[in-house]
Symmetry: C2
Subunit: 475 residues, 2 copies
């Protein structure tokens, strides 16, 4: 690797190759860790990205693109060494154009910051990931991220109109359009969404703006049985209701956020949290009432309902901080992002929530069921004692059983966090049919296989041993 050459491209200040820095860039929010990264390069503009890619491609050097590193599947873990391409500094909001109902941003722009800037114009960027405070638009595109409002407004792919992309060979191309309909050639912009850093580097994204509703009302319903809460979610969605949020939290999730943040959620087996939005109160009330009726039919009770922005913010914050709350659930245990975002058909919510608990019990780990169930995503986390080797064997078994269940009910391995390393074994097992064409598409974009190689279809077959783990395990 010609470090001097790279310094010349991005400037000395924008390159790091000291051990401490490389250590940090060896992991993301997944369980994985590697010490293979050779250099971190921080491009400041598109030209930098093009020149770095050209150099890497000519010299067959792996390149792992990275936003803030909040990914939970290991996308940003540079398992093949080479260059880590840190895109955080490319964080300009290039244009906000309400007259064209779009904005143009660089990949390092942070989701919540973008929404702060859009707010005065009466618009927002609709995917609302729980990690919105830190996650970058580039990372959201790479993962087809979604979040609590995806139930009404869709995932990143649904708000993405066009982009500028630096290809593996350094060429700059434009995919997609400035318009909300587009039948002009293959949908390459949509293909880039969810491509996990394996097909190209997005250096500019054209995003669709969604009108901000004037009103949002949040409501909570309690349930004494998890299965009734799950069934309620399925019933709400199949009734044709259009909530702007429809979340499940099981008892473990409830206890965790109460303990960590004093949130005062009810001590029941499950709650569902839902929101309706709109321009006038009658619409919003109508939607909330309609959903409450469905809750009642399924033995929901103890409704709380609030238009108050402060109370809403409290609940959202609690929900968003669930991950850190879970980490404090039991002394000596950590909360590992494993099997954390499967998506299942709407009718399978209750069964999946139930399966999560059963599989956890059977395998000596703690698992919680929660998530954007209205859009099909059931999150879980696995709480385990990371220092014990056998707990990782337990986790491996639990993950495999859970994904087998998800596959058996017509669900998928990942709804919003991507495959990369930790979900690859299960994804490969369930999607044998598309591995060859996935490889061909990768080859079409990246013939030298330098962009985030050995992820997804080419990842190792066991996630536990795919890399070092980000925890100290006693042998």
């Amino acid at each position: 690797m010609d470090i001097e050459k790279l310094k010349k491209i991005v400037g000395e200040d924008n390159l790091r190759d000291d051990v401490a820095e490389l250590y940090i860039y060896g992991s993301d929010a997944s369980v994985h860790q590697t010490d293979k990264a050779q250099v971190v390069v921080k491009p400041q503009n598109t030209k930098h990205v093009q020149e770095v890619m050209k150099y890497a491609n000519e010299n067959m050097i792996p390149v792992t693109a990275r936003g803030i590193g909040s990914g939970t599947s290991g996308h940003a873990v540079p398992i093949d060494g080479g260059i880590v391409l840190d895109l955080k500094d490319m964080d300009k909001i290039i244009e906000i154009s309400p007259e064209n109902i779009i904005c143009k941003v660089e990949p390092g722009v942070v989701n919540d910051e973008l929404n702060r800037q859009l707010q005065p114009y009466g618009f927002f960027f609709a995917p609302t990931p729980a990690s919105g405070k830190v996650c970058t638009i580039g990372g959201m595109i790479a993962n087809n991220a979604s979040g609590i409002r995806s139930v009404k407004y869709g995932a990143t792919r649904d708000s993405l109109l066009g982009m500028k992309v630096v290809l593996a060979n350094g060429d700059l191309v434009e995919f997609g359009s400035n318009t909300r309909v587009d039948a002009a050639g293959f949908q390459l912009a949509r293909l880039m969404v969810g491509s996990e850093g394996m097909l190209g580097i997005v250096v500019e994204a054209t995003l669709k703006l969604t009108p901000l509703p004037k009103l949002r009302c949040l409501a909570i319903s309690k349930f004494n049985k998890l299965e009734e809460a799950g069934k309620t979610i399925s019933d709400v969605m199949s009734s044709g209701a259009t909530p702007s949020m429809l979340e499940l939290m099981d008892d473990i999730a409830i206890q965790s956020v109460n303990k960590a943040f004093n949130l005062g959620l009810p001590d029941v087996e499950a709650v569902i949290i839902f929101e309706a939005d709109g321009m006038i109160e009658a619409t919003v009330d109508g939607e909330i009432e309609r959903i409450i009726k469905i809750c009642e039919k399924n033995n929901g009770f103890g409704f709380e309902m609030s238009y108050d922005a402060k109370r809403r913010a409290e609940i959202y914050e609690g929900r968003k901080k669930l991950f850190s709350a879970l980490s404090r659930y039991r002394e000596g245990y950590v909360c590992a992002d494993l099997a954390d975002d499967m998506a299942v058909p709407n009718s399978q919510m209750a069964a999946t929530a139930h399966a999560i608990h059963e599989i956890a019990k059977k395998n000596n780990v703690i698992m919680t069921a929660y998530g954007h169930c209205g859009s099909g995503v059931i999150h879980t986390k696995i709480l385990l004692n990371p220092s014990k080797k056998e707990q990782w064997d337990d986790a491996r078994k639990a993950v495999e059983e859970l994904y087998d269940f998800v596959d058996s009910v017509g669900g998928i391995t990942s709804g919003e966090h991507g495959i990369a390393l930790s979900k690859a074994p299960s994804w490969k097992k369930s999607r044998m049919d598309i591995i060859p064409i996935t490889r061909e598409v990768k080859k079409a974009f990246d013939p030298n296989n330098i962009l985030n190689p050995h992820k997804l279809m080419d990842a190792p077959d066991d996630w536990v041993t795919a890399t070092e783990l980000r925890y100290r395990v006693k042998e």
Copy 2:
């Protein structure tokens, strides 16, 4: 070509190779016509498609997939001869699952028939193409079709969750999922949308169901100036309003439908037709009033507003039949689908409508400006005397000038009808940067280049001479 072998695959009754039949299959709704098709094959099931593709691939025989043939760009015109794969008979609605908020259909299912079947469940398939009475879901997927409701509900890509695809080599694969979020591998289902029959044959599609609104209210506003109507559309969309329909019709369009169907539309320079939908009247009224205010600000007048289903149906029908109405606009003239569906950024509606009229005048043809302008699509048609060779030269010039204009304001060649043959010269001119990667993607899916070859990036450089024209031209 081994006709007997093909007969064995699909059955004798499902193969045609007589001249009369081949003539019909030599054209679609575009200006193009060819006599090169050698055989029409009508698969009855997925197995048939797989075997036909396997045979074609092994023998390097071109295959042109076809729905009803209502495409306006020449996708279904078999310019390389070989096999026409008529998918109309694969028209089963496999499953309607309100509990999973999806349906599964074969490619030959007709849009309006699907919506008739969905209606009792309280859902619809949201893209609403004007050709809904005849167009097939397979064709809509191939073109990323949209329509009058795309302004609120998006295009086909936004309602498409998963699919079964027969690849060029006959392999059957599944892309996408049953869920509304999906981060499990590359978005190959979304890539198939808009792939113009060039990447694979969709044999089953999983579609997202959208809740049917309880109420729809239609309104019309008149304008004495086309530009004020255009500006109104831009203003409505950038205001954050969410109409479920927002259509422009210029004077030629108005006169045409009035003349042909006695629709009684006002004799003004332009009207906009808009609709709001919702669950309660207050929401719908609020939306309509909000839009009317914007109309008034731009000198709109003579509002008509109706919840009445009969009057709404009348107007929709008139709008949908505009194409046939335009064909009767002037004796001896035909209405040709050329430059018929460009999409431009929202702020460019007035300027584009104006440009259409200017360019028409300059080039001795008649052009009309209308369309789903709320979602960025401006339709036009070119009315010309098809028997005169110089009129085709006029049309060529008009098309080129119009697309140059569209390109200069950041628009695209096709919003919803695809590129294929008649838009390929302009698409290629404006998208030079992505032709190489488009070819690589095509090669990844279809290494022998048998699926609808010589369309899009590989189409001839002059649409007038690309094929025979579907009209008798005197030399």
